[in-house]
C-alpha cells in the first residue's frame, strides 16, 4: 500500500498538530491561577507587627511598678475576633503568644515578679490582671479597570490591653496595624 504526502499540507499539518497539542495541554492542565491571591491576615506578618507591642510592654509603667503592687497574676484571655477574617484556635492563640511568649517579655515579667497563669488550668477570677487581644479590620474593594471589583485591601488593627480586675482600670495598652492587598477578580 502506498502512502501519499502533499507538500502544501505540511505547514497546515504542522500548524494543526501544534494547535491541537496546545488545546490538549490547556484543557488538561489548569486547576487554578498562579496569580491568585487574597488579603487574609497572615501569621507570617505577625512577628514584625507585634515587635513594637512587645517593646511597649517591656518598657511599660505596668511592668516598672509591678514589684510595688504585691502579687500580680496575669491571665491571657482568648482573642476577640472583630475582623472580617476567620482564625483557627491555634492562630488565635498565636496572636496572644507572639507577645507574651517572647523571650524579652518573659524576662521582663519574671524580673517584675509578674506570674503568667495558664488559661487551661485557671479561671479568670484567679488572676489580678487580664491580658486581652482584639483584632479588627476594614476592607475596601475597588476596580483597577473601573469595571468589575478586582482589587481588595484589608487593614487589620491588633489591640492589646492589660486590665486590673479589681478596678477595671487599664494598666497598659498598645496596638499595631497590618495591611494586606490582593489583585484579581473577587468574584472569580
Amino acid at each position: 500500500m502506498s502512502r501519499t504526502s502533499l507538500p502544501v499540507f505540511r505547514p497546515i499539518g504542522l500548524l494543526g498538530l501544534g494547535l491541537s497539542a496546545l488545546l490538549v495541554l490547556t484543557s488538561c492542565a489548569t486547576t487554578g491561577s498562579r496569580e491568585a491571591s487574597n488579603a487574609r491576615f497572615r501569621m507570617a506578618d505577625l512577628d514584625q507587627a507585634v515587635a513594637e507591642v512587645r517593646a511597649s510592654l517591656i518598657g511599660s509603667r505596668f511592668i516598672r511598678e509591678a514589684p510595688a503592687q504585691g502579687e500580680v497574676l496575669l491571665r491571657a484571655e482568648p482573642l476577640t475576633n472583630l475582623s472580617l477574617d476567620r482564625f483557627t484556635v491555634s492562630e488565635e492563640q498565636m496572636v496572644v503568644s507572639r507577645v507574651l511568649s517572647d523571650t524579652g517579655v518573659q524576662v521582663a515579667l519574671r524580673e517584675a515578679g509578674i506570674r503568667l497563669l495558664d488559661p487551661e488550668v485557671t479561671k479568670p477570677a484567679d488572676a489580678t490582671h487580664r491580658f486581652d487581644a482584639q483584632i479588627r479590620s476594614v476592607a475596601r474593594e475597588g476596580s483597577v479597570d473601573q469595571r468589575e471589583s478586582n482589587a481588595r485591601r484589608d487593614a487589620y488593627l491588633l489591640e492589646y490591653q492589660i486590665t486590673e480586675r479589681a478596678t477595671s482600670g487599664i494598666a497598659w495598652q498598645a496596638s499595631t496595624e497590618v495591611a494586606r492587598a490582593a489583585r484579581g477578580l473577587v468574584i472569580d
Partner: protein, 530 residues
C-alpha cells in the same frame, strides 16, 4: 522557507489521524469533571445525611477533584453540618472560606478560554449566589461550634459577595443579614446587631417579627432549616452559550410552624435561591461565549464552502481543517453547566426555646412534620445552632417520633439500664469506667472489666470517636458502619440515628462471642422495632 520542511514529509493519513486523536483528547478534556449525582441528592432528600457525608467526603478528598475541588468541598462540608458533625466539616470550612476569599483564581485562563470549553479550563468558584450561600454555611458551621467571631466574619463576607448593601439585595439574601445580626448579638455587640436587624426589617416586612425575635427574644437555640432543591443551571440557546436556571422546587410563601416551650409561632422563609439564581449571576463570560460561537460558525461555514467549491486538494484540506476548528470552537462555546445541585431552594430560621419536649416543626399545608430530638443548651450558655434539611421523602417515622431509643453521649442513659450496643444492648455511649456499673445493672457479669469491653470494640474493628476525633467519622455502627460517635443533639444525624430502632448487633469476633456468654439472658432482651 518551505524547503526547510522538506525532510519532514508528513503522510496525510498520519496527520489526519493525529488531528483526530488530538481533537478527541481535547473534547474529552473539555468535559466537566462534575456530574450531579441523583443518588446523593436522594440520600439528603430522605435524611440519610450520614451516607451522603461519607460519599461526598470521598469525592472531595479525591486528588482528581481538580477544577471542581471547591464544589466537592462545599458539598462535603454541607453534608457534615446536616449530619450534626461540625468537626467532620472543620477542615473543609477552612478550605471553602480561604478559596472563596482568594481573588483571580481564573485569571490565567482567559487565553485558554478561547481554545477550550469553560468547564475544561476554569476552576469552579460558583455564581455569586452560590458563593454567598457557601459563606453562610461557613458562618453556620462556626455558630455550631460556638466560634462567634468567625461566624460574624463569614456572614459579613457573604453579604459583601452580593454587595448586599441596599434594600433590594438585602431582601433577597436575608439569611446572611440575619446571621450577621445573630452573631453580633452573641458577641454582645448590640449596636452592630441592631444595624443588621434594622436592615432586614427595612428590606422586607415579611421578616419583621422574625428579626424582632432574633434581636430581642429569649430563645436558646436557632434552627436553620433548608427545604426543597436549588434551581438547575443549564446551557441554553442555539450553541448553548446562554446560562439558564430552571426551578426544581417552586417558590411559594409557605411559612414554618414551630411549637416549642414558649408556644407556637409561624416564621417566614428568609431566602429563596430560585430568585437569587436569577438575579445574582456573573455575566463576565457571556460575551466571550457568543463571540466564540459566532467565530466557530463563520469558520465552519467558510471551511465547508472552500472545501466544497475548490478542485485543489490542498485548498480542500485547508477548508476541511478550518471547518474542523470552527466546529471545535462552537462546541467549546457552550456555557459552564456546573452548579451545586445539593443546595436547597429556601432557608428558614427558627428561634427555639428549649423545653422537656422536643420542638415540633411543620411547613404550612405540607402535612409533614419534623421533631428534632436531643437539642440541649450549650455548656457555656451560648446559643445552640443546628442546620437541618426538611426530608422530602418518607423517613420511616424517625423524623416525627420525637423519641430517643438509644443511650448516647448527648442525652445520656435510657430510663432502664441497657447493655452496650456491641453486646446486643442499646447504649452507644463512649465507654467509660463509670458506665460499667450501669452495664452490670443491665446484666453484664461482674467479671467483665472496662478493659475487656474496650478490647471488644477493638476486636470488632469499631472506632470510638469523641470531640475532635469525630472529624474521622465514617458510617455509624447503628447503620452498619464502623465508627461510634454521637452527632450534635437536635441535628438530622442525631434524630435519624437515635429516633428509630435498628437491628440488634451480634459480635463477630471470638472475644465478642465469649463476652456475650457473660450477659444474663433474663435482662438483656432488647426491644424490637415497633
Amino acid at each position: 522557507m518551505l524547503a526547510r520542511f522538506a525532510p519532514f514529509r508528513l503522510p496525510v493519513a498520519t496527520v489526519g489521524a493525529a488531528l483526530l486523536v488530538c481533537c478527541a483528547l481535547t473534547l474529552a478534556g473539555c468535559q466537566s469533571g462534575y456530574t450531579p449525582d441523583p443518588g446523593t441528592a436522594a440520600m439528603l432528600a430522605r435524611g440519610d445525611t450520614s451516607r451522603a457525608r461519607v460519599d461526598l467526603a470521598l469525592r472531595a478528598d479525591d486528588p482528581k477533584a481538580g477544577r471542581e475541588r471547591l464544589l466537592y468541598e462545599v458539598q462535603a462540608m454541607h453534608a457534615a453540618l446536616l449530619d450534626g458533625l461540625p468537626e467532620a466539616a472543620s477542615r473543609r470550612v477552612e478550605y471553602v472560606f480561604d478559596t472563596l476569599r482568594t481573588q483571580g483564581l481564573n485569571a490565567n485562563n482567559s487565553p485558554d478560554l478561547f481554545l477550550v470549553n469553560e468547564q475544561g479550563v476554569r476552576f469552579w468558584k460558583g455564581e455569586p449566589y452560590e458563593q454567598a450561600v457557601a459563606l453562610s454555611l461557613v458562618s453556620i458551621a462556626d455558630m455550631m461550634t460556638g466560634r462567634w467571631g468567625n461566624a460574624r466574619a463569614a456572614a459579613i463576607e457573604s453579604l459583601q459577595r452580593l454587595n448586599a448593601d441596599d434594600d433590594s439585595r438585602t431582601a433577597e439574601f436575608l439569611l446572611g443579614r440575619l446571621l450577621a445580626g445573630v452573631a453580633n448579638r452573641q458577641m454582645g455587640r448590640a449596636q452592630e446587631a441592631a444595624e443588621h436587624f434594622d436592615a432586614a426589617r427595612a428590606a422586607s416586612d415579611r421578616v419583621r417579627a422574625l428579626a424582632d425575635e432574633l434581636e430581642h427574644g429569649t430563645y436558646d437555640a436557632l434552627l436553620v432549616i433548608e427545604a426543597g432543591r436549588s434551581p438547575a443551571r443549564t446551557a441554553s440557546g442555539g450553541d448553548g452559550t446562554e446560562v439558564v436556571f430552571r426551578d426544581r422546587s417552586p417558590s411559594n410563601a409557605k411559612g414554618l410552624r414551630v411549637s416549642d416551650a414558649s408556644g407556637s409561632a409561624l416564621w417566614p422563609w428568609t431566602t429563596d435561591l430560585n430568585a437569587m439564581a436569577r438575579d445574582h449571576r456573573w455575566t463576565g463570560l457571556d460575551a466571550g461565549r457568543r463571540s466564540k460561537a459566532a467565530a466557530g460558525n463563520v469558520l465552519t461555514a467558510g471551511g465547508i464552502a472552500v472545501a466544497a467549491s475548490s478542485d485543489d486538494s490542498a485548498a480542500q484540506l485547508a477548508g476541511a481543517g478550518a471547518a474542523l476548528i470552527g466546529l471545535i470552537a462552537k462546541s467549546n462555546a457552550r456555557a459552564d453547566s456546573r452548579y451545586d445541585d445539593l443546595l436547597p431552594q429556601r432557608f428558614y430560621l427558627a428561634p427555639i426555646k428549649m423545653g422537656i419536649e422536643p420542638p415540633a416543626l411543620s411547613v404550612e399545608s405540607s402535612g409533614s412534620s419534623l421533631r428534632p430530638v436531643g437539642l440541649r443548651p450549650n455548656e457555656d450558655g451560648s446559643l445552640a445552632v443546628r442546620l437541618l434539611r426538611w426530608p422530602e421523602t418518607s423517613t420511616t417515622g424517625w423524623a416525627e417520633s420525637g423519641q430517643v431509643f438509644y443511650a448516647n453521649d448527648v442525652t445520656g442513659p435510657l430510663e432502664t439500664p441497657t447493655l452496650p450496643w456491641v453486646l446486643g444492648g442499646r447504649c452507644v455511649r463512649t465507654p467509660t469506667r463509670a458506665l460499667m456499673a450501669e452495664y452490670r445493672r443491665a446484666g453484664l457479669a461482674e467479671s467483665v472489666s472496662y478493659e475487656d469491653l474496650m478490647e471488644l470494640y477493638r476486636a470488632e474493628s469499631i472506632d470510638l470517636l469523641q470531640g475532635r476525633d469525630q472529624s474521622q467519622a465514617r458510617g455509624h455502627v447503628l447503620e452498619g458502619g464502623s465508627t461510634l460517635f454521637t452527632p450534635q443533639g437536635g441535628s438530622i444525624g442525631f434524630t435519624r440515628l437515635f429516633g428509630q430502632f435498628h437491628t440488634t448487633y451480634t459480635p463477630t469476633s471470638t472475644q465478642g462471642r465469649a463476652l456475650s456468654l457473660l450477659v444474663s439472658p433474663t435482662i438483656t432482651t432488647t426491644e424490637e422495632s415497633p
